[in-house]
């Protein structure tokens, strides 16, 4: 399902619980979890924290989020070979990622950009979208 179909209202509906979950995982105050703060650069999140956040969000929202789901969602229907080559996003892949992570300012995207650096872009809003996608998929499967 395309990212553009997610409305601001949907994001605002899940954000309080996402923020609370993230604050618990990161050991920070919930007030520090702004919708657009960089999780790595702004809240010192590490890879284990991403694992923790996803694990907690799964239980908080009663959803399943497979590992690597954000990048998979970003890639959408684009074949992997068109999305990235040797760990670096193609021009088409970068454009696709910018569309998916539309909330991220353009200057934060590298060019070229390694797939391994994508998590540096993530914000709480990214995870709100992840939750909404998972909720939609669960509803569709029901």
């Amino acid at each position: 399902m395309a990212n553009t179909e997610i409305t601001k209202e949907e994001i605002q509906a899940v954000f309080p619980k996402v923020a609370e979950t993230m604050a618990d995982a990161l050991g920070c105050d919930v007030e520090d979890v702004k919708l657009d703060v960089s999780l790595i650069e702004g809240l010192d999140a590490e890879s284990i924290d991403f694992l923790d956040m996803v694990f907690r969000l799964e239980r908080a929202f009663k959803i399943k989020i497979p590992r690597g789901k954000i990048i998979e969602n970003a890639r959408g229907d684009m074949p992997e070979a068109e999305f990235e080559q040797k760990g670096v996003l193609t021009e088409a892949g970068l454009a696709q990622l910018r569309t998916y992570l539309s909330e991220i300012p353009a200057e934060r995207f590298g060019n070229p950009m390694k797939v391994a650096d994508i998590p540096r872009l993530f914000t709480p809003e990214t995870f709100c979208k992840l939750v909404i996608h998972a909720q939609r998929e669960a509803q569709a499967a029901a």
């Binding site: 618990d24 050991g27 590490e46 284990i48 694992l51 923790d52 694990f55 907690r56 239980r59 399943k64």
Partner: protein
């Protein structure tokens, strides 16, 4: 006797299992050891989960300790006890295993683990896959001979400065060599997370006793550990600075201690411990 599958292995026999779903096992705590702390009981539950998870993915990966949302300490385990272990696997794939479980002695629950997660790492980095496969076969059949575990020498803590009744710091010098490194793990020795937690609990309990021990007539005990997060491995010989800080609790004689472990200025582990009066 080789230390592999002996010096830090806490599953004797897997009595029932569904691959990737659930399992039950036994471990006879040797009577001749000095103590069998709660963290080793938790280790036993985690090891059973690891066996069930590794079997699920045909020993291509092995889970390592990373997240434990909640561990409830219900009772002590005396040397000579027979532990009954059980785990329920919530999810298991090539990336991670999520599980919960518990341990029982004579039908009474002694520990409960909720919402634990271990990322899977390539098994060949840590151990020989064929040796693990063979061991799993033995555990599921006749079982391993008991009495292999000879106890563990817990590193002493060197007290550092702190604020009386509020916080404490201590240095944990991980030994350069110890029998458990041959078992945890043969190809990549790592200081077990549960031994780190044991040291952190000792520091927290010392702090709690000085801070609130005098207001309760029954001994303080660790009740519950939450938010356990292991950020990186601790290698043999590393110096680990442990931190404990009392934070708000649910009463004068029940408090939460925030725990941290730091190596070379980098936080390698965090957790919280709820401390309160024991049954008396």
């Amino acid at each position: 006797m080789s230390d592999h599958f002996a010096a830090f292995s806490f599953v004797d026999r897997i009595t029932a299992f569904e691959p990737g779903v659930r399992g039950r096992a036994r471990f006879a705590v040797p009577g001749g050891i000095g103590a069998f702390p709660a963290c080793l009981v938790a280790e036993a539950v985690g090891q059973l989960a690891a066996w069930i998870a590794m079997a699920r993915i045909d020993f291509r990966g092995r889970p390592v300790a990373a997240l434990a949302t909640e561990t409830i300490f219900h009772g002590d385990v005396a040397p000579g006890s027979s532990l009954e272990l059980e785990v329920e696997i919530e999810s298991c794939d090539e990336d991670a295993v999520a599980y919960g479980g518990g341990a029982y002695v004579d039908g009474a629950r002694v520990i409960e683990l909720k919402d634990c997660l271990g990322p899977m790492l390539p098994v060949q980095e840590f151990d020989a896959p064929e040796a693990l496969r063979e061991r799993f076969g033995l555990l599921c059949a006749a079982g391993a001979p008991g009495g292999r575990f000879r106890g563990v020498s817990v590193p002493s803590l060197i007290e550092l400065d702190g604020v009386a009744g509020q916080s404490a710091r201590a240095l944990l010098q991980v030994p350069q060599s110890a029998p458990f490194f041959a078992d945890h793990f043969p190809r990549r020795p790592v200081f077990p997370a549960t031994l780190l937690l044991d040291s952190q609990i000792r520091l927290a309990m010392d702090l709690a006793r000085t801070a609130i021990g005098r207001v309760t007539t029954t001994p303080l005990v660790p009740r519950r550990m939450t938010h356990v997060k292991m950020r990186s491995f601790i290698a043999p010989g590393q110096a680990v600075e442990l931190g404990a800080e009392l934070v708000a609790g649910d009463g004068v004689a029940a408090r939460t201690v925030r725990l941290s472990a730091t190596c070379d200025g980098r936080v390698v582990a965090t957790a919280r411990l709820d401390v309160g009066a024991g049954a008396g």
